[in-house]
Amino acid sequence: MRFFPLAVLLGLRAWGGFAPSWAQAAAVHGVPLSRYLGRVAAPLLGPSAMASVLLVALLASSDVSTVLLLHPPGQPSLPLTIFTVMANAPEAWTAALCLIYVLAVMVVLGMVRFGLGRWSG
């Protein structure tokens, strides 16, 4: 919940990028609101909405109170496991984890780039 305002801010920023004339053009042509939202607004807001959800999910999953809330008691949580590995594991393990992290980010960025390329035609 703490990160919900961030998602709202990101959503509002995306909505602010909409030209007012797009909705006015829809009004001039009698395009129903549901159709305008479905064909124009939702596809345009989709990428930023997905980014908001991802960002909030990432921040929430790294938040200790969220982890404690969701995680069964008595077992080490994922963030705790990661911190333990980073602090105590051999250097090679930490390096491997960093590489995996970099690869994961590259995959996500590649998917976003592919999606944006398709969106912009």
Binding site: A19, S21, W22, Q24, A25, A26, A27, V28, H29, G30, V31, P32, R35, R39, V40, P43, L44, W119, S120, G121
Partner: protein, 246 residues
């Protein structure tokens, strides 16, 4: 509804404490292309938006034929029921849709079968000479091609009045001339009447028989451009005449 003429009677429009239009009365006859010209901020676009039904007048009435469209703070007839096509200043093309889909989405109000809507959209694109770009999105088109898509979307509904809000700003002279010729041909073929908003008197002669000059929210003069230039009342036409003579 008899779309013989658009009429503005005693129109005023006030934003906050700023009067953009003051007691404007005008008529736009069907079949007579008219240009509204004036310096930036004189109320041209506001006037066009009142005609289109995107804004309601603060005072006065907008009529189409004998039907009341808007009156003092109320829009009584929505834009899509006014027999108009509108090309916005920024074109307002939906960026995630192809040229064809931009035109198709503008047609559902006609409640036609899907194939008929598509055929009508393709016909509009062909008339504008961009049928081969039907599947391209606006971001991939040049400025002139985007203008043509916007015009195709506007004429696809076969409007009685085609409202153009400075749609050719930023285009080179050759492209602009070609578009003017194309619009003139389309209007002849479809029986549409142009109401053009521009700040450039040179554009008027290419398309419009009549010109209305606005300054500070009021009509300073109206008539044929050639006649007005003989004894111009507005500073805009006086300056234009001086440039022509120089």
């Amino acid at each position: 509804m008899n779309p013989a003429e658009f009429r503005l009677e005693g129109i005023s429009k006030i934003f906050g404490d700023h009067a953009v239009l003051s007691d404007v009365s005008l008529d736009f006859k069907f079949g007579q292309h008219t240009a509204i010209i004036g310096p930036s901020g004189c109320g041209k676009t506001t006037l066009l938006r009142l005609l289109a039904g995107l804004d309601a007048p603060t005072g006065g009435e907008v009529l189409l034929g004998d039907q009341l469209l808007s009156a003092s703070g109320h829009i009584l007839v929505p834009p899509h029921a006014r027999h108009i096509g509108l090309v916005f200043q920024d074109l307002a093309l939906w960026p995630n849709l192809s040229a064809l889909d931009n035109v198709v989405l503008g047609l559902p109000g006609l409640r036609h079968a899907r194939s008929r809507v598509r055929a009508q959209a393709l016909d509009a694109l062909e008339r504008c000479g961009i049928l081969d770009l039907a599947n391209a999105r606006p971001g991939r088109l040049s400025g002139g091609q985007q203008q043509r898509v916007a015009i195709a979307r506007a004429i696809a509904v076969r409007p009685k009045f085609l409202l153009l809000d400075e749609p050719f700003a930023g285009l080179d002279l050759v492209t602009k001339d070609a578009l003017f010729d194309q619009i003139a041909g389309l209007c002849r073929a479809l029986g549409s009447t142009v109401i053009l908003v521009t700040h450039d008197p040179a554009e008027v002669a290419q398309l419009c028989e009549r010109v209305v000059v606005l300054e500070s929210g009021q009509v300073v003069e109206a008539g044929r451009l050639g006649e007005l230039l003989q004894a111009p009342q507005s500073s805009l036409l006086r300056r234009f005449k001086a440039h022509q003579q120089a």
